[in-house]
Amino acid sequence: MLEARGIIFAYKGHKVLDAVHADVERGEVVSVVGPNGAGKSTLIKCIAAIHKPQEGAVRIDGKDPLVLSRREVAKQLAYLPQSLLCRFPVSVFETVLSGRRPYFSWRPSRKDVEKVEQIIEALALSPLATRDMDQLSGGQRQKVLLARVLVQDTSYLLLDEPNAGLDLRHQLEILETVAALAREKETGVLMALHDLNLAARFSHRILMIHRGRIIAEGTPFEVITGERIREVYGVEAQVTRSNGHLNVHVLRCAGEDPQTPAHGL
């Protein structure tokens, strides 16, 4: 189990996380939702041992990532950042291969290369394999980065808005892949998501955070209610249930004149 307890984190005195906890079992998909600036990315970075929380502890199958070497952590826990830089020409293949870095020191083994090939094939990235990263569309790039996280072969995945800025199909493809991974390889997934509909559909549990605190946690149906959406996001929304799926219809900004047209979330 991957768990974080009582995480308190502040950027230069500005408290961003206040006693936040989270846990993910293997094979489970947990989504962290909440408005911009709620602290989702910060929470994920604290768990990924990129930030050291001022208080609280993280345990990966009972072990403290701050005590393990970075390389050991990298074999247990993979992290997909919200955005990635790339100022130099690096090919898709090389980028994915670098995800195997925790396992080799100079020359990737045959097994490393085969794993990379398999994932590239599985995500239908083969036609792009020798292209440079800066020649890809946003969706393609995000898939490559997901591939890089997947070859890392870890028990747990931390994904920070893996589908931000992608079209519908790419969003679904990425989340389907993640769901398949949890199902088939028993990977535990903790991801920050913006889209409540997708979060509800692809997660076993949801963690809603607002201003650095956990507002609610539980199954999608327990957490995502019209009332909470009004409270946390400040919009009126109608939450319905059809064929076992939860649907969030955003109506309008809360407190506004009902006649004004609704804005998208």
Partner: protein, 359 residues
């Protein structure tokens, strides 16, 4: 959900039934191509050094040069062993060092405009060397000059790291800081010139023109130590650099300590810069251009990029030095000028063409 979104296992199974995927073979070819490129560059460098050894103002024939290499033939022997050979070795070493340091600065600051000179590290090293030359003249020791150069190059590199660490320091901010440092240290050097004695001014000017002419064996030895000793640890960190390209946070999640890596890599690159600068003066440009030329040809895998940039830098400087000695013989054009004349058109050509598919 439509049937278009197959599960991971479906696709993995499809992949397994096929022959070895083309991606792996293409990648394998890439690695072979890059190794071949390094070999080719090494051969070109040795060839250029051999040619450089055989031509010069004194007009010794190739046969005599070869003879002088193995036997004491008097004046010719002295020219080859005391003048040409150390000079050519120095050119190769300095070029190698500047190219290598450039590739390291570029990746750790994640800034394609970084180089020993655009960061001010070169000028700082120069100032350090000049300070020692002035204050400990005439009895200054070679090692003292090297230490002075290194201390000041570290100082300016530390400023660059601090700026890079400041939140959202953009490429432009870093380069502007580097240019400011460059002007600061140039101004300080000029001040010394202004206040110095005739003899001191002469030494500074001589030094500052970027000259290989005073390279003797002792200088070559010390420069080699400073330039080559940081190379193995840097090369060993090649994969860490490859990962650092995508940002500190993703690097940290893959087992790298970005800050630690940046610290020691910048210190190593500063040592290399100091070694390249302190006996030859300010030879710019190579440190910026050699990594770019190499990257355009073989890409950003630092296992190949670092040695490749070094070899490219060495080649540029050896060719430039040979041209500098022979084009206007017996006049010797300052090497910095010639290396720019040679490097710029090549760089422009690659920049416009910008393909690297053939490797």
């Amino acid at each position: 959900m439509t049937g278009g979104c197959a599960t991971l296992r479906d696709r993995g199974a499809q992949a397994a039934t096929r022959a070895r995927p083309a991606t792996g073979r293409a990648a394998h070819r890439q690695v072979e191509g890059r190794s071949l490129f390094l070999l080719l560059m090494a051969l070109l460098l040795v060839g250029a050094m051999a040619i450089g050894l055989c031509v010069g103002a004194s007009g010794i024939s190739t046969a005599d040069v070869l003879l002088a290499l193995v036997r004491d033939t008097g004046r010719t022997h002295d020219i080859v062993w005391m003048l040409r050979l150390p000079r050519i070795l120095m050119a190769a070493l300095v070029g190698f060092g500047l190219g290598l340091a450039g590739s390291v600065f570029q990746v750790v600051l994640r800034n394609p405009l970084a180089s020993p000179f655009t960061l001010g590290v070169g000028s700082a090293a120069g100032f350090g060397a000049v300070t020692v030359i002035i204050f400990f003249s005439p009895g200054h020791h070679l090692i003292g000059v090297a230490v002075g150069a290194f201390v000041f190059s570290l100082l300016s590199a530390a400023v660059m790291i601090a700026v890079a660490r400041m939140k959202q320091a953009s490429s432009e901010t870093m380069i502007l800081t580097g240019i400011a440092l460059m002007f600061l240290f140039s101004a300080l050097t000029s001040l010394f010139q202004y206040m110095g004695t005739m003899q001191q001014v002469h030494e500074i000017v001589f030094w500052f023109f970027g000259s290989l002419s005073r390279a003797g064996w002792r200088e070559v030895g010390l420069a080699a130590a400073m330039i080559l000793s940081p190379f193995p640890p840097l090369l060993r960190a090649a994969w860490d650099f490859n990962i650092l390209i995508h940002g500190d946070e993703s690097a940290a999640s893959l087992g790298v300590h970005p800050k630690r890596l940046r610290m020691w890599a910048v210190a190593a690159a500063s040592l290399i810069t100091a070694g390249a600068i302190c006996f030859t003066g300010v030879i710019g440009f190579v440190g910026l251009v050699a990594p770019h030329i190499t990257r355009m040809i073989i890409g950003s895998d630092h296992r190949f990029l670092m040695p490749g940039s070094g070899l490219m830098g060495g080649l540029i400087l050896v060719v430039a030095d040979t041209v500098a000695r022979t084009a206007w013989s017996p006049q010797v054009i300052p090497i910095g000028i010639v290396s720019s004349f040679i490097g710029v058109p090549f760089f422009a050509f690659l920049l416009l063409k910008r393909t690297r598919e053939y490797w």
